[in-house]
């Protein structure tokens, strides 16, 4: 549950329909509690960024939101439906409204980029080959990967894998998009391209987007709302300006530590690890 007074603030320019609603979710791995009383909502057309350090429960929360883990105590509603009460078939129908781009890309290594993108169409909709090829081409254009459809995933750079993964995630025109660390491991220029892509997709398709990231720069660029997890608890949930202005020590620690890492000068870092930096070793 959000502990910040900012949690209840309305987010401008988004509709009020709740696409994702999590109520009082707890989760245990064996004896260890990973999520504590987590509640959040994502409205139609809203971009919500979930941030937190390693082991804060971000991935566990994301897996719950995607319906890959059963809610223990707590309730998860997607598109207004309690997913614990859905049959396998109903859950499959619901998943057609969702797209996911995983941190690793999760492209199928035995298929080229086009086949990866058209896989959901081929398996779930059974369109003719020509229509699928057109749709794949359109999605590749959307993510700036035109002409790369015949390449295998192993032939793509890290940024291209992320973009191909996003193309596959949006091929069914989902209403809800999950992006797991979309900018991790990418240089700032490519990260900025991914951020632009996310904003473009939201503008074009009015989809709700949930992003898990460690990258504050990216988060503050794209988010309508930022939610910070610390040791399984939501410590703040609000618009970027208010998160930035937060005086909560856990929020400050997370944001400042990350900014220091992001902004470090490579030459200074090299001097530091070689023991030649006087600032680092006074």
């Amino acid at each position: 549950m959000a502990t910040s007074p900012l949690a209840a603030r309305p987010v401008p320019d988004v509709e009020t329909e709740e696409i994702v609603a999590v109520d009082h979710l707890d989760f245990f791995y064996g004896d260890r509690q990973v999520l504590f009383d987590v509640s959040l909502t994502v409205r139609r057309g809203e971009i919500v960024v979930i941030m937190g350090g390693s082991g804060s429960g971000k991935t566990t929360l994301l897996r719950h939101l995607m319906g890959l883990m059963p809610a223990q105590p707590g309730k998860i509603r997607l598109f207004g439906k309690d997913i614990a009460r859905l049959s396998e078939g109903e859950m499959q129908e619901l998943r057609r409204k969702m797209g996911v781009a995983f941190q690793s890309g999760a492209l199928f290594s035995s298929m080229n980029v086009t086949d990866n993108i058209t896989l959901p169409l081929r398996e779930l909709v059974q369109l003719d080959e020509e229509t699928m090829a057109i749709m794949a081409r359109l999605k590749l254009e959307t993510v700036n990967l035109s002409g790369f459809g015949d390449l295998m995933p192993s032939e793509l750079s890290g940024g291209m894998v992320k973009r191909a993964s996003i193309a596959r995630a949006i091929v069914m025109d989902p209403q809800l998009l999950f992006l797991d660390e979309p900018t991790s491991g990418l240089d700032p220029a490519v990260s900025a391209q991914i951020d632009d892509l996310v904003l473009k997709l939201r503008a074009a398709m009015n989809m709700s987007v949930v992003i898990i990231t460690h990258d504050p720069k990216s988060a503050f660029t794209v988010a309508d709302r930022i939610l910070i997890l610390d040791q399984g608890r939501i410590v703040i949930d609000g618009p970027p300006d208010l998160v930035r202005a937060s005086r909560d020590e856990r929020v400050r620690n997370l944001l400042q530590r990350r900014f220091e890492e992001t902004d470090i000068d490579p030459a200074q870092y090299l001097r530091r690890i070689m023991g030649k930096d006087e600032d680092a070793h006074p």
């Binding site: 890959l68 129908e93 998943r95 996911v100 999760a106 492209l107 959901p120 398996e123 779930l124 059974q126």
Partner: protein, 265 residues
């Protein structure tokens, strides 16, 4: 917790883990049958192309090594049969032991072990690396059932191709043994084969084929279950692959013994 409780707890946890794995095997088989039956009506059929690819991979591409192994087993059986029967001056009856042991025992078990090592391990490694790379999660979230997409085509491939390989191994082993025996006893291959066909009945062939179907089921399910247990990285893929091969071969041998006991009593 006091020390004497710790071993008990570990035994309990291991027992639960084993039961969990057995239950998961049953779920995989059930889901595979379900998708075969319901998939076409739900407009999510089991992929024919992937099934054919599996058959080619597990069966056709295994033919050279299967042929070599079958011929070697046939000749080895011929050498041992001629030696042991020679002690009683009954070398001319070697074809009986060779034909029955090849069709009822050696072909299915050798082909089972070959396919477990060659293709069961590949299935475990493939599913293991897909699990680690989140490809299985991706299938799930796309609404594509991973069992229908990955396991059922492989299961069908094993169920069809293992009996085919077993029949092929019967043929190759008996021919190879025939060459050796007829050369040693100065007979003809045609005469040897005629005698073999007289002694070999359909039930002997069915016994071997029945086992091979069971072995195919074991290899597919063990490979898939172990693959889906990979969690940490490339090292874990190696671990689950080795585990899949060891478990498959062990279960094949144990099942063979039980099957032999039940069908000969």
């Amino acid at each position: 917790m006091t020390d004497w409780r710790l071993p008990l707890r570990q035994v309990g946890e291991r027992t639960v883990a084993v039961l969990d794995e057995i239950g998961y095997c049953a779920v995989l088989v059930f889901q595979s049958v379900y998708w075969l039956a319901v998939g076409p009506r739900a407009r999510q059929p089991v992929r024919l192309g992937a099934t054919i690819d599996s058959m080619i991979d597990f069966g056709v591409q295994a033919l050279p090594i299967a042929t070599l192994l079958a011929a070697t087993i046939g000749i080895m059986l011929a050498i041992q049969s001629l030696y042991s029967l020679g002690l009683f001056g009954a070398q001319q009856y070697a074809y009986i032991g060779i034909a029955l042991s090849v069709a009822r025992e050696f072909s299915p078990i050798i082909m089972g072990i070959l396919v477990a090592g060659r293709s069961g391990s590949a299935l475990a490694a493939r599913i293991g690396s897909m699990t680690i790379n989140q490809e299985i999660d991706a299938l799930d979230v796309m609404g594509i059932n991973p069992v229908r997409f990955l396991v059922t085509p492989a299961l069908l491939g094993f169920l069809v191709m293992l009996p085919c390989l077993t029949m092929w191994a019967n043929f190759v082993s008996i021919i190879a043994a025939g060459f050796y025996v007829s050369a040693v006893l100065h007979g003809t291959l045609a005469g040897y084969l005629r005698d073999t066909l007289d002694v070999l009945h359909a039930k002997d062939l069915w016994q071997g084929l029945g086992k091979s179907v069971l072995f195919g089921l074991i290899i597919a399910v063990i490979g898939a279950v172990n693959g889906s247990n990979a969690k940490k990285g490339a090292e874990d893929v190696g671990r689950v692959t080795t585990r899949a091969v060891v478990q498959s071969i062990t279960l094949i041998v144990v099942t063979d013994m039980i099957f032999a006991y039940l069908t000969t009593h």
